[in-house]
C-alpha cells in the first residue's frame, strides 16, 4: 500500500514538473503585435493635431536613433542593446495614417525592416549591432526623406567600414563621431549631405 501511495505521489509530482517545463508556454508563437495602436490613440482622436503628431513620431524615432548611435560610438554593447529595444518600440508606435497611400506603403516597408534591425541590435554583439545599424541607418534616412525633419541632420559616411564597403549614418552634429569604429577611428568619415 505504501509503495502504491508513493508511486502515485511520484507520478503526480512528475506530471506537475512536466507541466511546468512544458514547451507550450502559451502564446509564445504569436507574432509580436505591432504596438502602433495603443500608444497613438490620442492622435487618432485629435485630427487637428495629426500632422504635427506624425512629425513628432519621426522626431521620436530620430531621437532614439541618435541615442543608439551614441552608444555605438562609445562601443557600449549593453547600452546599445537597451537602446535598440527602445528604438524598436518607438518605431512600432509610428503612426503613418496621415500620409498618402504611397507614402504609407513605403513607410510600412521601412518601419518593418527598421524594427527588425533594431530588435536584432537589442540582442547582438558589438560587430553585429554595427552591421544592423548600417541598414537601419538607411531605413531611417529613407524615412526622413518622407517625413521631413525640423532639425538639421547630417548624413555622414565612413568609407572604411566593412573592408572598405563603407557605411553611412545620421547625426545631429557636424563633427564626426564614428559609430562603426568607435575609439578605434573616432573621427573617420565625412559629411556627405545636410538634410533639413
Amino acid at each position: 500500500m505504501k509503495t502504491v501511495k508513493r508511486t502515485i505521489g511520484t507520478m503526480a509530482l512528475a506530471a506537475i514538473m512536466v507541466l511546468t517545463v512544458s514547451c507550450k508556454d502559451g502564446n509564445k508563437n504569436e507574432p509580436a503585435a505591432p504596438m502602433s495602436n495603443e500608444m497613438h490613440q490620442e492622435s487618432m482622436d485629435d485630427k487637428d493635431n495629426m500632422a504635427m503628431n506624425d512629425n513628432q513620431d519621426a522626431k521620436a524615432v530620430l531621437q532614439d536613433y541618435f541615442k543608439l548611435k551614441d552608444a555605438l560610438v562609445e562601443t557600449n554593447n549593453d547600452k546599445a542593446k537597451q537602446l535598440g529595444a527602445t528604438l524598436a518600440s518607438t518605431l512600432g508606435s509610428f503612426d503613418a495614417s496621415s500620409y498618402s497611400d504611397n507614402e504609407q506603403q513605403e513607410l510600412k516597408d521601412i518601419l518593418e525592416d527598421a524594427i527588425e534591425h533594431a530588435e536584432h541590435i537589442s540582442e547582438s554583439d558589438m560587430a553585429h549591432q554595427r552591421e544592423h545599424f548600417k541598414i537601419l541607418s538607411k531605413d531611417v534616412t529613407d524615412m526622413v526623406a518622407i517625413t521631413g525633419t525640423e532639425m538639421k541632420i547630417y548624413e555622414q559616411f565612413c568609407p572604411m567600414y566593412k573592408n572598405n564597403e563603407g557605411g553611412a549614418w545620421l547625426s545631429m552634429n557636424e563633427e564626426i563621431r564614428n559609430p562603426y569604429f568607435g575609439d578605434k577611428m573616432l573621427k573617420c568619415g565625412k559629411v556627405q549631405r545636410e538634410i533639413n
Binding site: 511520484t10 506530471a15 514547451c23 516597408d109
Partner: protein, 151 residues
C-alpha cells in the same frame, strides 16, 4: 540509494508523461507561389543545397527525422523551427518587400560567411546539411547577385 531510485523513477515517469504532449508539426504538402525558388530562377545545385541545409527550419515544411517525434526533442525542435521561420521563411519570400528581401539576403550572406548557419546543433545530426567551401561560395555568389539586382 533510495533517493536515487526515486529520482530515476521520476525521470522515467516524466519522460513517459511528456510523450502525451501534442506537437505541432511543421509540415505542408504544397510549395506556395510565394516561395523563394518559385520567384527566383535558382540553379538546381543551389536549390538542392538550400532545400537540404536551410528549408527544415526556414520553410513551412520540415523533413522530420524519426527521433524528432519523441519528446523532449520535438519540443526543442518546435521552438527552433518557429524561431527560424520568424527570422526567415523561404516559403514567404514573395511577400517580403524589396527592402526586407535586401536585408534578408544580407543576413543570409553574412550568416553563411561566418559559419553561423546552418547551426552546429543541426549539422551534428544532419551531416548532409554541412556546406562545403564550394557550396558556400556558390550560394553567397548567387545571393549577392540577387541582392544587387534588387538595389
Amino acid at each position: 540509494m533510495k533517493f536515487i531510485k526515486i529520482i530515476a523513477w521520476l525521470a522515467l515517469v516524466a519522460l513517459i508523461v511528456i510523450q502525451f504532449f501534442p506537437i505541432t508539426l511543421n509540415e505542408s504538402d504544397t510549395v506556395p507561389q510565394s516561395d523563394f525558388m518559385v520567384e527566383n530562377q535558382v540553379p538546381a545545385t543551389i536549390k538542392n543545397r538550400l532545400q537540404v541545409s536551410c528549408y527544415d527550419c526556414h520553410s513551412n515544411n520540415t523533413d522530420y527525422p524519426w527521433y524528432s517525434k519523441i519528446q523532449p526533442a520535438a519540443c526543442y525542435l518546435e521552438d527552433h523551427i518557429q524561431e527560424g521561420k520568424d527570422e526567415l521563411n523561404f516559403n514567404e519570400w514573395a511577400e517580403y518587400s524589396d527592402r526586407r528581401k535586401n536585408s534578408k539576403l544580407r543576413s543570409i550572406i553574412s550568416q553563411i560567411e561566418e559559419d553561423k548557419m546552418p547551426l552546429d546543433s543541426y549539422t551534428l545530426i544532419h551531416k548532409d546539411a554541412i556546406l562545403s567551401d564550394e557550396d558556400k561560395r556558390v550560394i553567397i555568389d548567387y545571393m549577392t547577385a540577387l541582392k544587387d539586382s534588387l538595389e
